[in-house]
Symmetry: C2
Subunit: 206 residues, 2 copies
Amino acid sequence: MKPQEIENESFRIIDSEAGAHGFPADQWPVVRRMIHTSADFEWQLMTQLHPDAIRIGVAAIRRGCPIVTDTNMARVGIRQRDLDRFGGVVRCYMTDARVAETALQKGITRARAAVDVAASELDGGIYVIGNAPTALLRLIELMDQGQARPELVVGLPVGFVNAAESKALLMERDVPHITNVGRKGGSNVAAAVINALIIMAGQDGP
Amino acid sequence: MKPQEIENESFRIIDSEAGAHGFPADQWPVVRRMIHTSADFEWQLMTQLHPDAIRIGVAAIRRGCPIVTDTNMARVGIRQRDLDRFGGVVRCYMTDARVAETALQKGITRARAAVDVAASELDGGIYVIGNAPTALLRLIELMDQGQARPELVVGLPVGFVNAAESKALLMERDVPHITNVGRKGGSNVAAAVINALIIMAGQDGP
């Protein structure tokens, strides 16, 4: 089978096993790709999408809105070649020299400092957090202070310390977001969300 | 909390919730890190380790054995800085010019062609497959033909088409391997396995 045939067959299996999932037609391609990348059907139970997330996210990608990731894994997992047609770029600030300096000066984690540097550089932007709860917590702080104005937040940090808590805070905010209940998450699933939006951006609607 | 404190607390929570998992002391750090990176306790039920996997894997890393990944996500997820002290390098052949050429010439997927190029270049090596079942199936073919002699295979392709089947074949081989039963897998979990071995390589024993 060719790669596209494997993907089609995978989606057919997911649709068949997912049954009556309750996601509207514009949200399901995102959740289905999260299941596809993880083989974990729990995503259909725990994923939470802000009602404007798909529309705003697809429009932002079509406009070439910059995408910021909290890890290089998420950065390289996003299909840059498909993003090229819209002029979009993906940046991860974790290895930026200013981040190491800011982290040292302020005595904070690099993940947190990377959000500070990104917010100082970008007006808007899509934030993709698949690893560090400290990054999501800092982004929410900056949003609350009016110092960050993301167009979309993909908030999927994973782990046992503050991951679920940081995502619960994101759900309370009115910013367009795609997140989940609980500890699960990951750079691979976060990248899959953006890849689903990039594919939708190349199609008609929504 | 500092990053190391967060990790320690995470491991404490995992140990506490995992209960009597049955993995010996040299295998548990690997499985625990797979759970840590995914927040998925199912890894303690589905992970399968060849009895020599830890000993051979740690020795290979200490010797600076080259590591080949099937995705750039797995490549950047492996802690190169910690590997530097052993002289190890991580390579992903997916964007190698020879791979595109071989895939075109032979009419095969790039993931499969990448294994051919890696095997032609390496004597031994640690193979890390976190995404493509076709890569693992090809590696097993080359092993059976004596054209690839991996020291360790981390076989964790994910998905709905041939992922579980390819891993079942790996389990039947006597090559040292770390793999799992079922569809789950991923570049993040595959990188976590190698990172656990790198940390063990820096400690005393096994």
